[in-house]
C-alpha cells in the first residue's frame, strides 16, 4: 500500500562544504541517501518535497554539522493480510514468484488451489486448470500477502491465491 509519509533524516555535512551551496548539498545528500531505499519494512519510492531543514548543530569532536531534515515521501509498505495485484516473474514446480513493485512474493503450491496443476508446455512452465485459469510468466495475479520478513535493505514475502476472488486476473 502506498502512503504519503513525513519522514526525518539526519545528515552530516563536512566543513569543506560550509558555504553558499550548503543547502543544495544537503538536498543532494538527502535524495541520494533516501530515494529508492528499502528499509526492510518499507520502500521509499520518491521524495515529494522537503518540509524543513533544521538549524545545523556542530558535532563536538568531529567538526561536522548535523542537520535534521524533515521531508514528505511516497513510501510503499506491504502488510500481512493485504490483497495486492502483481505480475508473475517465474514459475517453478513448487510455486511461482510474483513481482509487486519492488517486492517479490512467493506463492507456494500449498497456497494454490488444487485445480491449478503444474504443467510444462514446450519450454513454458505454468499452473493451469486446463480450462480458463492459467498462471504463467507475465500473467497478472491477485494475491493475499500471508507473511513478510524484513532484513536491512530487503523484504521477502509469501502469498496465497487460495481464496475467493484471488488468482489470475482476466486480461
Amino acid at each position: 500500500m502506498f502512503f504519503v509519509k513525513v519522514l526525518e533524516h539526519r545528515i552530516h555535512l563536512h566543513p569543506s562544504f560550509f558555504g553558499a551551496q550548503a543547502s543544495a548539498y544537503i538536498l543532494d545528500q538527502l535524495y541520494r541517501d533516501r530515494e529508492g531505499s528499502n528499509t526492510g519494512t518499507m520502500m521509499i519510492v520518491a521524495i515529494i518535497d522537503v518540509d524543513d531543514i533544521s538549524e545545523p548543530k556542530i558535532v563536538p569532536g568531529s567538526g561536522y554539522a548535523e542537520y535534521d531534515v524533515s521531508f514528505r515521501a511516497i513510501v510503499w509498505r506491504p502488510f500481512r493480510g493485504e490483497v495486492v495485484d502483481g505480475m508473475v516473474s517465474s514459475v517453478v514446480n513448487n510455486g511461482f514468484f510474483v513481482d509487486v513493485g519492488g517486492l517479490s512474493v512467493f506463492v507456494s503450491k500449498a497456497m494454490i488451489p488444487q485445480q491449478l496443476k503444474y504443467t510444462v508446455e514446450g519450454a513454458t512452465p505454468s499452473f493451469t486448470d486446463g480450462v480458463d485459469q492459467t498462471v504463467e510468466r507475465g500473467s497478472q495475479v491477485r494475491l493475499r500477502i500471508k507473511g513478510i520478513r524484513g532484513e536491512m535493505g530487503q523484504m521477502f514475502a509469501i502469498g496465497s491465491i487460495r481464496e475467493d476472488y484471488l488468482g489470475p486476473l482476466l486480461q
Binding site: 500500500m1 531505499s37 502488510f79 495485484d85
Partner: protein, 147 residues
C-alpha cells in the same frame, strides 16, 4: 570449564521487530495508522507529476523503476481527472468510518460486488451497509478505463 568466559552476545542486538502489523479483520498499521494512503492510480498520477516537475530528474534506483512500471501496469484509471473523481467518491467514505487504508484499497481493487469487497478487505466487515457499498462500487466502475 577451562578458558575465558564468553560474553552473552558479541554483536549489537537487532532492533526489535515492530512485527505485529497486519491488515486482516483488524487493521494494525503500526506507524502508518492515520497516514494518508494512495491507491495505485493516485500514485501513478503523483509520480508522473513529480517526474514532469523536472528539477531533480528521476531516480535511477531499482525501487523507483520497478514501482513506476508497476503503477503504470496496474493503475485502473489512467486519466488524472478520473483519478480526482474517484478520490472524491471514495473520500466521502472517510466520513463514514473507513480508514485511509480501506479507502485506498477500494479504489485500487475495483471490486464488482459488496461481497467481493468484504472478502478482499476483511476489515470492512460491519462498516458499511450493502447498498452504500454497492453504490460506491458502481460509481467507481463507471469511471473505469477499459482501454
Amino acid at each position: 570449564m577451562a578458558g575465558p568466559t564468553v560474553p552473552q552476545s558479541l554483536s549489537r542486538r537487532r532492533p526489535a521487530a515492530t512485527g505485529d502489523e497486519e491488515a486482516t479483520n483488524i487493521l494494525k498499521l503500526g506507524d502508518m495508522t492515520d497516514t494518508p494512503a494512495l491507491s495505485v492510480a493516485e500514485c501513478k498520477v503523483l509520480l508522473e507529476q513529480l517526474a514532469n516537475k523536472g528539477g531533480r530528474g528521476t531516480s535511477n534506483s531499482d525501487v523507483y523503476t520497478k514501482t513506476r512500471e508497476y503503477v503504470d501496469m496496474f493503475a485502473r484509471f489512467k486519466d488524472p481527472k478520473t483519478v480526482t473523481q474517484v478520490d472524491a467518491i471514495s473520500s466521502g467514505l472517510l466520513m463514514k468510518g473507513l480508514t485511509h487504508f480501506e479507502r485506498a484499497q477500494l479504489a485500487t481493487l475495483c471490486c464488482d460486488s459488496p461481497d467481493e469487497a468484504r472478502t478482499l478487505i476483511p476489515s470492512l466487515e460491519g462498516k458499511l451497509s450493502d447498498e452504500e457499498l454497492q453504490d460506491v462500487l458502481n460509481d467507481i466502475s463507471k469511471l473505469r478505463d477499459f482501454s
